[in-house]
Subunit: 144 residues, 2 copies
Amino acid sequence: MANEMLDHAVRTLRDSGVRMTPQRHAILEYLTAEHTHPTADDIYRALEHRFPNMSVATVYNNLRVFREKGIVEEMNYGDASSRFDFVTTRHYHMICEECGKIVDFNYPVLDDVEAVAAHLTGFKVNRHRLEVYGTCPDCQKNVQ
Amino acid sequence: MANEMLDHAVRTLRDSGVRMTPQRHAILEYLTAEHTHPTADDIYRALEHRFPNMSVATVYNNLRVFREKGIVEEMNYGDASSRFDFVTTRHYHMICEECGKIVDFNYPVLDDVEAVAAHLTGFKVNRHRLEVYGTCPDCQKNVQ
DNA sequence: TAGACTATTTATAAAGATTACAATTTGAGA
DNA sequence: TCTCAAATTGTAATCTTTATAAATAGTCTA
């Protein structure tokens, strides 16, 4: 499963002329293996023991490339760092306002919103973003 | 209209023990008068001629207070600065990916999404955020 | 397989947004 | 008016992300 996703991503990148480097491959591996919506720094720290000379800029460069190719989705949560999510099936995010945890949930794609928005504003619509904010089960316990 | 919104905001703040200062009032005035989704820096620059000694920190401090009281909504668009929107009626945002322009549009509130998300994840839901991204009419012209 | 070309990485500096902090000032109730 | 906590100011610091130039390394072609 994780391997299929990885292979597919590698193929997509190669097909559009992006070279495969060990660092790039490792970042993809990490993104397909983890479902933790990591920040750039999370990724950097997870890989620095395998690539002691790797630069933070490399992580950012690659995440930008992946985003441009539709391999990952970038999310800005508040003023903290961006988080990156490997794009698989269409899903939305539930975000805990206490601890920042992000959980995926499935919901039918909101095509209608896009159509209405396009009609009302005259914009050409590319995509949309929906996030639900609340308190996760763990933090609900801690409050009590 | 703008005055009613302003008065209401001032009352809400006073009622929860927030003091009214000239700077604070001016920021509220600006937010209710403009519908441009300004950044903290926009607000700072718009008011510095009236308050030559005002600090940027004051703008940030107040925007945080307003956000905590539900008076304004903070939006992060990419890696640029946050933008702030005076909360009036429930609406969503259409954002141009070329020039960053933000336009409001109305759509029935997505209560169902919140209910489904709560059920699937076990979170206690507070709110949600929906943004549609695309190209505004002006930028569509420029591309051609 | 070697050579060449260009993409990528690295290392570092720089930019930009936001926050922290301590001293000063000020709003509002008694 | 007095008092005290809240707010403001000015500045430094933090943190994320990008820019840049030199070095390195993929991949294509012969």
